[in-house]
């Protein structure tokens, strides 16, 4: 009997809106997108990088950016300042002190992280950014009007702008060498040139396993943290490091929530406000109209 009643209630609920409602809540809870299953990534092993900056040269070369002969990249004086990406530099290598072994500083390559759920793509009013199934976040300059919201929203401060171009300025950033990686066997220019295999290109899911394996097998060599595995919902580029990441210019306060998630609550309120606001206005209008009518009638009868 009890079972029957339960079954009956269940049917009743599914006939009504309950089933729909519970399904929607499930869908909302699962809104986090874990990344395209077969997307690519790069694992940067900071214990291996020697700071030769050949990746910078290769990047300039592939992306047809202003470049210098490769020998000039051996010049260590650029490490005096902490550099960031800019309109003509999609990747930079910075040097950080290693308090454990001061004679062996740590070199950190910086470029677009290619987030699973990119802030730049979600804030762009013109859909100029796309996260491709290959993992690259690519930019389409033909529809960009230059509001620079992507730059303001990027948690890693990566996109740069061609401020000095008066008529056709573009946002610039690492392309993950999309035209190369979309072809079978293609790898990004920086990965291809790296002489010490500090950059490992592969399926992101496999790289996550590889990173943990490396840390597990060499617990003295690495801190137990794969940067980019969960940061802002996961990124295609990930790092493993001999020192805590906050010492190396990484932001470790960004959390694991994808940036677009922060705006979704508000955006889902928009249709509700749009529908209820006119109703409230009309209600108030008829009340105030009625009040005036009553007042007029009263003053007449007096």
């Amino acid at each position: 009997m009890g079972l029957d009643r339960r079954a009956f209630l269940k049917h009743l609920a599914s006939m009504g809106g309950f089933a729909v409602a519970s399904k929607t809540t499930q869908a909302l809870a699962q809104q986090h997108f874990a990344g395209y299953p077969d997307s690519f990534g790069v694992l940067v092993d900071l214990t291996v990088c020697i700071g030769c900056r050949r990746c910078e040269w290769a990047c300039n070369n592939v992306n047809k950016l202003p470049n210098k002969p490769i020998t000039e990249f051996e010049n260590k004086s650029v490490f005096e300042t902490n550099r960031r990406t800019n309109a003509v530099t999609f990747t930079v290598v910075n040097r950080f002190n290693n308090p454990k072994t001061p004679e062996k500083p740590i070199y950190v390559k910086k470029q677009c992280m290619h987030c699973n759920e990119p802030a730049c793509a979600s804030v762009c009013p013109l859909k100029a950014f796309t996260k491709t199934p290959e993992g690259a976040v690519v930019y389409n300059p033909s529809i960009c009007f230059g509001c620079r919201y992507c730059m303001a929203a990027c948690p890693f401060n990566i996109p740069a702008y061609e401020y000095d171009d008066p008529f056709t300025p573009k946002v610039t950033k690492c392309t993950f060498c999309f035209d190369r990686i979309r072809n079978q066997g293609g790898v990004p220019g920086c990965v291809e040139i790296c002489p010490v295999e500090a950059l490992i290109f592969g399926k992101r899911s496999e790289l996550v396993d590889l990173a943990h394996e490396k840390i597990m097998n060499n617990p003295d060599r690495y801190v137990n943290h794969v940067y980019g595995e969960h940061e802002v919902g996961g990124t295609s580029w990930m790092y493993i490091s001999p020192r805590p990441f906050e010492e190396l210019g990484f932001r470790t306060d960004l959390g694991t929530t994808p940036i677009p998630q922060y705006g979704r609550g508000f955006l889902s309120l928009v249709p509700i406000i749009a529908v209820t606001c006119p109703v409230i206005c009309m209600g108030l209008y008829s009340f105030s109209k009625r009040r005036t009518a009553l007042e007029n009638a009263e003053s007449k009868s007096n």
């Binding site: 804030v123 013109l126 306060d253 705006g263």
Partner: protein, 406 residues
């Protein structure tokens, strides 16, 4: 021959304020206009420089600080202060506050112009300004708060034009059009209320996606609510400021107004009452924002002190000052407080998008002098446009040939 004469007369009456062209020019030789001329003489070439040579040489914007005063002041602050038209429309039509009627049209006009000049500010800020209409026609980033804002501004701007157009048709003496467009007023006000509510909160929503960039005291999941409530306060306070200035600057129109001195003061005090209640609400909302994030420990830092300046100095104190003015029935105190409040809301918008944005970056932003000049020039053009319209159209007073609406 006769037609030519009527056109000439029309131009004389409607454009040159009933003077001959020469007298009209002479009447414009005033000290205020001299200052305007100087600003325009400097500002317009600087504007041209920005358009021709680009953002690089004319701004201090950088890869780390992509937004400057054109976003933080011209757009964020400009649109908050332009919300008066919405507030007065709602108070008059939906709350039945018929006493506010004389202030509805001036508020609508300043709202309309506020939006117009915020859009003009945006043109200078956009890297490819000639693509301004792209969100409407070319590419739709439907998941973006900024896409939402673009559409809301576009629609709200059009709605405000509809709401304002009876005044234009009265000026042009086009009775049929006026009657037709008057039928749209109620619908336009409702639509406008929806748009303005969404738009003002969306400006806060814009910042929701920068949790790692904005100082925690200014970052809150309630930002859309903060922006909406403070925009209404800004709207009310701007109506007080702007009506006070209009009564001084356009003295010769005062006798035509349906409003004597005592009535005007009474309305001002009524607005002050609403502003006081809202400011107290806003103050508690800001406190709840800090409590919600448990950010109390940040209050005793440099940014925390700055936060106190904003929230105590420009929210709590004006809330009490407004209440004091209302209690003592002093329109003067209410008017002084309205100026403090307007400055406070501007300070908030600048804090949100400039001073406390990228607070943890090594590189800070200070406006380039050309950015300041262009902002000042835009405001100046806005002011003279406002004056031009006030001097010609029935905004501050009711046109004698037309019956009062509603």
């Amino acid at each position: 021959m006769e037609k030519a004469w009527t056109r000439e007369a029309w131009v004389r009456e409607n454009i040159f304020l009933g003077m001959s062209f020469r007298d009209y020019l002479k009447s414009n030789l005033t000290p205020f206009n001299f200052i305007v001329a100087v600003i325009l003489a400097v500002g317009i070439p600087v504007m041209a420089y920005r358009i021709i040579y680009g953002l690089g040489p004319s701004t201090n914007l950088s890869d780390t600080n992509p937004w400057g005063i054109w976003v933080g002041f011209d757009i964020m602050t400009g649109e908050a202060l332009a919300v008066g038209g919405f507030v007065m429309g709602v108070a008059f039509h939906f709350f039945g506050l018929t006493a506010f009627r004389p202030l509805v049209r001036p508020a609508l006009l300043s709202g309309f112009l506020g939006y117009l000049f915020a859009i003009i500010g945006l043109i200078f800020d956009l890297g490819r300004y000639y693509r301004l209409p792209y969100p409407m026609f070319v590419s739709f980033g439907t998941g973006s708060v900024l896409f939402l804002i673009a559409w809301l501004v576009f629609l709200y701007f059009s709605v405000q034009f509809v709401e304002l157009s009876p005044a234009i048709f009265e000026w042009l003496n086009m009775k049929k059009f006026r009657k037709w467009v008057l039928n749209l007023t109620l619908g336009a006000t409702i639509f406008g209320a929806v748009l303005a509510t969404l738009h003002q909160s969306a400006l806060g929503g814009l910042l929701l996606l920068m949790p790692g960039k904005i100082h925690p005291l200014w970052y809150s999941p309630f930002l859309p609510l903060f922006f909406f409530v403070s925009a209404i306060i800004a709207g009310i306070s701007m109506v007080i400021v702007e009506s006070m200035l209009s009564h001084r600057v356009f003295k010769e129109q005062v006798p035509k107004m349906a409003l004597d001195h005592a009535q005007f003061d009474r309305i001002t005090i009524g607005l002050g009452k609403a502003a006081s209640v809202l400011l107290f609400t806003y103050f508690w909302l800001k406190i709840i924002g800090v409590a919600h994030a448990n950010n109390w420990h940040l209050i005793n830092t440099n940014y925390g002190h700055w936060w106190l300046v904003e929230v105590v100095g420009f929210v709590l104190i004006p809330a009490f000052l407004y209440a004091w003015g209302v209690r003592n029935e002093s329109a003067r105190i209410v008017r002084i407080t309205s100026i403090i409040t307007v400055i406070g809301i501007a300070l908030n918008r600048i804090n949100q998008s400039i001073i406390c944005f990228n607070w943890n970056a090594d590189e800070r932003y200070y406006p380039h002098w050309m950015e300041v000049v262009i902002t000042v020039t835009i405001i100046t053009i806005g002011l003279i446009t406002f004056r031009w319209i006030i001097n010609r159209m029935p905004i501050l007073y009711d046109h004698p040939d037309y019956e009062i609406e509603h």
